[in-house]
């Protein structure tokens, strides 16, 4: 094999990926997560989101009436199944038998089996009223000269225009916050897994054998790369499951979410992982007991929690200067980034600048983490103090 850095790093990454994917605990956890996500998306939609289905009979002018009926279905949230009827008598018979919910007699009337109340709010009544309104307007416009019909369609009111751009919708802000929440949870969860994985490698004393053949940087990067790829596969599987479950169940989970916010969130997750993964590994190299992992990772948890809290406040509050500053600060940017963009606090070029700063920060902390990792990994016994690791005063 060539003496190139990446080839050996990839060997480490590949082992990490394969061994962890093969572990029973990983398989069980992933299956549970997939089932939970599918159920979380589909069950609410199946319980509450069943749209009523109405069979609509069309008598005369069926093409135009069909379009009107389908449009009315969209407006009222009803699934419309429209079919032409051979005659008005046949349609009325079907209406009486209940095989049709309502009948549209083109240009004339909308028939129901029975109108229960003039102010009825049932889905069938609402659909009948919508069809009657649209069909009536359609007939009226058809009877007018083309110029007049066009003027009416355009509307008579003057346009209204604001000097400032309109505020971001609540839906968009909520999308940004949810993205920040998901990134916060994923970075913390996967970060802790890296810490524990590194601590186990140190405790099993295999690190010394590995480091006799490859460099600490290769072991560190291979580890976080392999685990990162596995996490990414897990996320893709979860997202795919969520989307398939949403499509199959008619869930409105992603309705109103912005592709731009989702795209930026994906970028921030990847940058956040790159920024934090080596630090979590360095923390793992300093401890010998899993019980110490919480304290060892506290310096990483604090900026993540701060970013999450600020992202939460952005949903209902305006963007402050403090929020903006922290959106450029690499430790907090990956979490607050999607939320502040969704809230309109930053524009795309500022997002790009913040991403660049995060990349630069990743390089800097990667070097620091690599140093700590190399100096702490072979130190067994008591927990390594950060000051000692940096001063290189560790007895072996």
């Amino acid at each position: 094999m060539k003496d190139d850095w990446f080839a050996f790093t990839w060997l480490v990454a590949r082992r990490e990926l394969m061994e962890r994917a093969r572990a029973k605990s990983f398989k069980v956890a992933t299956v549970i997560l997939l089932v939970a996500v599918a159920a979380g998306v589909a069950v609410p939609a199946l319980i509450s989101g069943q749209k009523p289905v109405v069979q609509v009979g069309l008598v005369g002018g069926s093409a135009g009436a069909r379009a009107v009926a389908l449009e009315a279905g969209k407006v009222t949230g009803t699934v419309v199944r429209a079919r032409p009827e051979p005659s008005l008598a046949a349609a009325k018979e079907a209406l009486r038998k209940g095989t049709l919910g309502l009948v549209v007699v083109a240009g004339k009337e909308v028939l129901l089996k029975q109108v229960t109340s003039s102010n009825g709010t049932s889905s069938l009544t609402a659909l009948a009223r919508a069809i009657a309104q649209l069909e009536g307007e359609s007939e009226l416009l058809a009877s007018l000269p083309p110029a007049a019909a066009k003027a009416i369609e355009r509307g008579a009111a003057l346009p209204v225009r604001g000097l400032l751009p309109p505020p971001r919708s609540l839906t968009l802000k909520v999308t940004g916050f949810v993205a920040a929440l998901v990134i916060y949870i994923l970075l913390l969860t996967y970060g802790m897994r890296i810490t524990v994985g590194t601590q186990e490698e140190k405790t099993s004393r295999v690190a010394e054998v590995l480091l006799s053949a490859i460099r600490p940087s290769q072991l560190l990067m291979g580890k976080v790369l392999g685990m990162g790829l596995l996490f990414l596969l897990q996320i893709v599987a979860l997202l795919t499951t969520a989307l398939v479950a949403a499509a199959a169940s008619g869930s409105t989970l992603l309705r109103g979410s912005s592709p731009a916010v989702l795209g930026i969130s994906a970028v921030w997750f990847l940058l956040g992982y790159a920024f934090y993964c080596t630090l979590f590994a360095a923390a793992g190299s300093m401890i010998t007991r899993q019980a110490d992992s919480y304290n060892a990772t506290l310096p990483m948890q604090i900026p993540l929690i701060l970013g999450y809290i600020l992202a939460d406040t952005l949903t209902f509050s305006s963007v402050s200067t403090f929020d903006k500053v922290l959106s450029f600060f690499p430790p907090t940017a990956p979490v607050i980034g999607p939320a502040i963009y969704a809230a309109g606090g930053v524009v795309l070029w500022q997002v790009a600048l913040s991403c660049l700063l995060c990349v630069a920060g990743t390089v800097a902390v990667g070097r620091l983490a690599s140093t700590i990792y190399a100096r702490s990994l072979l130190r067994t016994g008591i927990r390594v103090k950060l000051r000692d690791a940096l001063k290189n005063e560790l007895a072996t």
């Binding site: 094999m1 060997l11 061994e19 295999v206 010394e208 053949a213 490859i214 460099r215 072996t396």
Partner: protein
């Protein structure tokens, strides 16, 4: 040849290596001895760049060691360790790959060494399912899988049963015959004396004795051991005069330190003149004595 030259390393006020220098020739098995805390592990780790040195250097075949050289070395650290949840065969193959072997080459070599060390039927078992002794064999297989040119083993015999010790001894001798340089540390001095051609003894981070085992065993002033059949108190030795100094008398066996080997025949003549000589010969020191004397002298 492996050369460690003037290695120095301190941790705070503790001096781990204090100008340590020695070398290991190819084709030789060299024992690396020293009391606990003498700096053996630090020196062995320095070969693999696992500890940063304050000063000094380690050379292999006359040049500074590069990462590609290091991949041709085999190492068994004092603190044994392999991935507990990984299968034996896959683990040894993986270590082979980290030393630059191709996938099939590493798999074949892993199978060979695992078989050679008696673990063929445990190939697919996880490391954590093996006994400690078998884990140690797997660890040795990991150190040998790439047929290293230099083998550095920190306490390789610790925890092994007699059969395991024999296997390990055979493998070390075999590797040396194949042209590898073998350096290992041990506190089992009888074993070291049996296996090694040379030893290096360190204390407080410094070399205190070094050389072929036979030379060290004969080193210092020659000592004769003489026993006369009818003189259990060793009274005959009172007439030695300037020929030598009695260092001990034990059940009639008189140990006489003489100035030079030439005087041995004079001592024999004197003894024969007194009575029947039951035993006469130069005393060969055990390695444990050499070790104690070297460490004591180093401390003083």
């Amino acid at each position: 040849m492996l050369e460690l030259v003037d290695l120095r390393r301190h941790y705070g006020s503790t001096v781990a290596l204090d100008g340590l220098s020695f070398s290991v020739k190819t084709g030789r098995v060299v024992g690396f001895l020293g009391p606990n805390g003498a700096g053996k592990t630090t020196a062995m780790r320095a070969v693999f760049d696992l500890v940063p040195l304050d000063s000094g250097h380690v050379h292999w075949k006359g040049s500074p060691i590069r990462p590609s050289d290091r991949r041709r070395f085999g190492y068994m650290p004092e603190e044994r360790g392999l991935y507990p949840g990984m299968r034996v065969g896959e683990q040894v193959t993986y270590i082979g790959r980290l030393h630059g072997m191709g996938p099939s080459q590493a798999a074949r070599a892993a199978e060979h060494w695992i078989g050679r060390l008696g673990l063929t039927d445990r190939m697919k078992d996880k490391i954590e399912a093996l006994s400690l002794g078998n884990q140690q064999r797997a660890q040795l297989a990991a150190a040998l899988v790439h047929d290293p040119e230099l083998l550095v083993l920190d306490e390789p015999f610790s925890g092994l049963d007699p059969v395991g010790i024999d296997t390990m001894s055979d493998v070390l001798a075999e590797r040396a015959r194949a042209g590898a340089a073998v350096l290992f540390s041990s506190h089992q001095l009888d074993l070291v004396e049996h296996i090694c051609e040379e030893v290096d003894i360190i204390d407080n981070g410094r070399l205190v004795a070094s050389g072929p085992v036979d030379d060290l065993a004969r080193g210092g002033h020659p000592t004769l051991e003489v026993k006369l059949t009818e003189d259990p108190a060793g009274d005959w030795a009172r007439s030695l005069g300037d020929l030598g100094t009695v260092s001990s008398i034990n059940k009639g066996m008189v140990s006489v330190v003489i100035g030079s080997r030439d005087k041995s025949q004079l001592v024999l003549d004197l003894a024969r003149a007194v009575g029947t000589v039951e035993h006469f010969g130069f005393r060969r020191k055990h390695l444990s004595e050499v070790f104690r004397e070297a460490v004591k002298a180093g401390t003083q």
